[in-house]
């Protein structure tokens, strides 16, 4: 594997609409050939970033370097990037073929080259037989693929995808996720994907940036973001997570701390540096928690609570457990071959455990 080569560098991008600062000194580096995702809730500025890269919106200040060249002031039609829009935005009066050929015609590609390139792009998205159809004769998923073909046929340095799958239904979306990822690997084009769907972001991306209020919250691989969220916002935005209050009572050194949680003292691992007396949030993923029947528990060093809700989810049994402090934990347990029919009754007292080290300890923040 070669050293990753930066392809796109965003420097200090800012944008304000009226009083609303949508983007605040935003820095980002995207590497050549990666599948990069901008993830965040609506209004976090992710789409603005994408539109600035495309040239459909101007930054108030800042630089956009594409392969070393500042394109921030270059008009959209001159930039070597292409976009797949959320609404597909196909040209309704043109056939699928003409839609895909549009970009090539605009850049004056020789006529004899257009046809093979268009057909190649259509074959790639498995729409070779649909070249002469009009967009309104295609299903949503097919239109989506035309939009992708129309963009990639121009061989852009960067392909921008704006919530491109969100208009599709669940099944189709899952299928397109796999297809997009495969396409990206095949083409070797850098994909910049914008979404508010964390599952989509985790499953497709090489790297993800989580944005909130125009700022970067965390940048990393899907695994880093899921397993080591940098702050409470990221932890809660990506997947479900349980949050318990705690206090540092002693430092064992080497990122190990004695933490008081739910009236008990625990030895926990934390990436952050804390002082004795610091308040912390202890975060636990529902699937990292193990629920045990009280009679099976040998140690007293365990959380004990009452089942207040149990939901059969097919693959998992999801329960809500209320602790004596009033805090509630969500757990999600897979059925396994040892005990394929386990279940709890409401109000049953159970013990909750987790694998030491799988907890995330962050500085205390008031809930978002």
């Amino acid at each position: 594997m070669n050293e990753p080569r930066p392809l796109l560098i965003l420097k200090q991008l800012s944008k304000t609409y009226g009083d609303n600062r949508v983007l605040d000194s935003f820095d980002l580096t995207i590497f050549d050939g990666e599948f990069f995702t901008l993830l965040g809730p609506s209004g976090c500025g992710k789409t603005t970033v994408l539109r600035m890269i495309a040239g459909l919106e101007d930054a108030d200040v800042g630089e956009i370097l594409l392969a070393g060249q500042d394109i921030a002031r270059m008009p959209a039609e001159k930039r070597p990037v292409n976009t797949v829009f959320q609404s597909y935005a196909l040209f309704p009066h043109m056939t699928v073929f003409d839609n895909v050929a549009f970009g090539l015609k605009m850049s004056k590609v020789p006529k004899e080259e257009i046809k093979p390139r268009v057909m190649e792009a259509l074959e790639m998205v498995r729409l070779g037989d649909f070249a002469q159809r009009k967009p309104n004769q295609l299903s949503g998923g097919q239109q989506q693929r035309v939009a992708i073909a129309r963009a990639v046929v121009n061989r852009p340095k960067l392909l921008l995808l704006d919530e491109s799958l969100s208009a599709l239904d669940y099944k189709l979306r899952q299928q397109m996720q796999v297809e997009l990822k495969r396409l990206q690997r095949k083409l070797g084009i850098t994909f910049v994907y914008v979404t508010h769907d964390q599952e989509e972001a985790l499953s497709m991306s090489d790297r993800v940036v989580v944005m909130y209020k125009g700022k970067v919250q965390q940048l990393g691989t899907p695994r880093e973001i899921y397993e080591q969220p940098a702050n409470l916002f990221v932890a809660k935005f990506i997947g479900e997570i349980n949050q318990l209050d705690g206090e540092i009572v002693a430092i064992d050194g080497n990122h190990e701390y004695e933490v008081k949680v739910e009236g008990m003292q625990w030895t926990l691992h934390a990436e952050h540096n804390f002082k004795v007396g610091d308040r912390v949030n202890v975060l636990l993923r529902p699937e990292d928690l193990r629920v045990e029947y009280l009679e099976d528990v040998q140690t007293s060093q365990t959380l004990v609570g009452k089942i207040v809700e149990r939901n059969y989810k097919g693959k998992t049994l999801d329960s809500i457990i209320r602790l004596p402090s009033g805090a509630e934990l969500i757990t999600s347990e897979f059925f396994d071959e040892d005990d394929p029919s386990f279940d709890y009754s409401l109000n049953q007292s159970v013990a909750v455990k987790w694998v030491p080290g799988w907890e995330v300890v962050l500085p205390y923040e008031a809930a978002h």
């Binding site: 459909l56 959320q86 935005a89 040209f91 009066h93 121009n154």
Partner: protein
């Protein structure tokens, strides 16, 4: 019971609306000077019509005005509609509602205001004043026809075109215009008909040197309804009807 009543009511309305027109059309083929009774089928009123030189001149004038006014109104109106669709600007909402209002302005108000302005800036009443007046009252119809069609298309499409390398003028010629064509044609036809049978505005802004058909017919009627008037009215009716139908079909197509 209720069904028969509903049907009968509707039939009655249509009867009221179409009876006079029907009488007029029938009489234009009636071989009788006064049209009080049916004397047999004839085309002689149509023949006389064609032989009537002053009437034919007026018809030529009317057609000239209608073609030029419709064409100019269509060009300006289409560009206006494209601007409303394509660009975001201050006062856009006010502008588009003003277009509607001008369409609903009573003819008489428009007629008087145009007359005043022509006199004020010293435009001689005749061809030019008629043409300007007709362009003015046709314009909102074109804008609304074209704008409402364009509004049905995703604006993101234009961003997609830019993103694929199309310049502003390419976007207009390759994307916006082809999509607008049915509405543009329909706007032209509508303008043509509006211009061809306008009486009120024309009566105010015309001059003695340039007589147009509706006004000519009007002056002929003053001395009694002649069968030629029936014939020319029937022709106007047919032309208007055909054009309106075509324009409606153009808009309905591919929806």
């Amino acid at each position: 019971m209720i069904r028969t009543f509903r049907f009968g009511f509707l039939a009655l309305i249509l009867f009221f609306i179409y009876l006079p027109i029907g009488v007029l059309v029938v009489n234009s083929f009636n071989d009788s000077r006064y049209g009080t009774s049916w004397q047999g089928f004839t085309l002689k009123w149509y023949e006389r019509l064609l032989a009537n030189e002053s009437l034919m001149t007026a018809a030529t004038h009317s057609l000239t005005i209608a073609v030029v006014a419709a064409t100019v109104a269509t060009i300006i109106g289409t560009l206006g509609a494209v601007a409303l669709y394509r660009y975001q600007f201050r006062g856009k909402a006010a502008l588009s509602s003003m277009v509607f209002i001008s369409m609903l302005t009573p003819d008489i108000v428009m007629a008087i205001s145009l007359l005043i302005i022509f006199i004020a800036i010293g435009i001689e009443l005749g061809f030019i004043s008629l043409l300007l007046a007709h362009i003015t009252f046709c314009l909102p119809f074109v804008i609304i026809a074209v704008y409402s069609r364009l509004r049905g298309f995703d604006v993101k499409m234009l961003e997609a075109a830019r993103d694929l390398g199309a310049s502003e003028s390419r976007i207009f010629w390759k994307i916006i215009l082809p999509l607008a064509v049915p509405a543009v044609a329909s706007g032209w036809l509508l303008s043509f008909t509006l211009s061809l049978d306008d009486v009120i505005v024309s009566a105010f802004v015309t001059g003695p040197g340039y007589e147009i058909l509706p006004l000519k017919v009007y002056s002929m009627v003053r001395v009694g309804v002649s069968p030629e008037v029936n014939a020319i009215s029937t022709l106007l009716l047919v032309v208007s009807l055909v054009l309106v139908i075509i324009s409606q079909l153009l808009l309905r197509e591919e929806r």
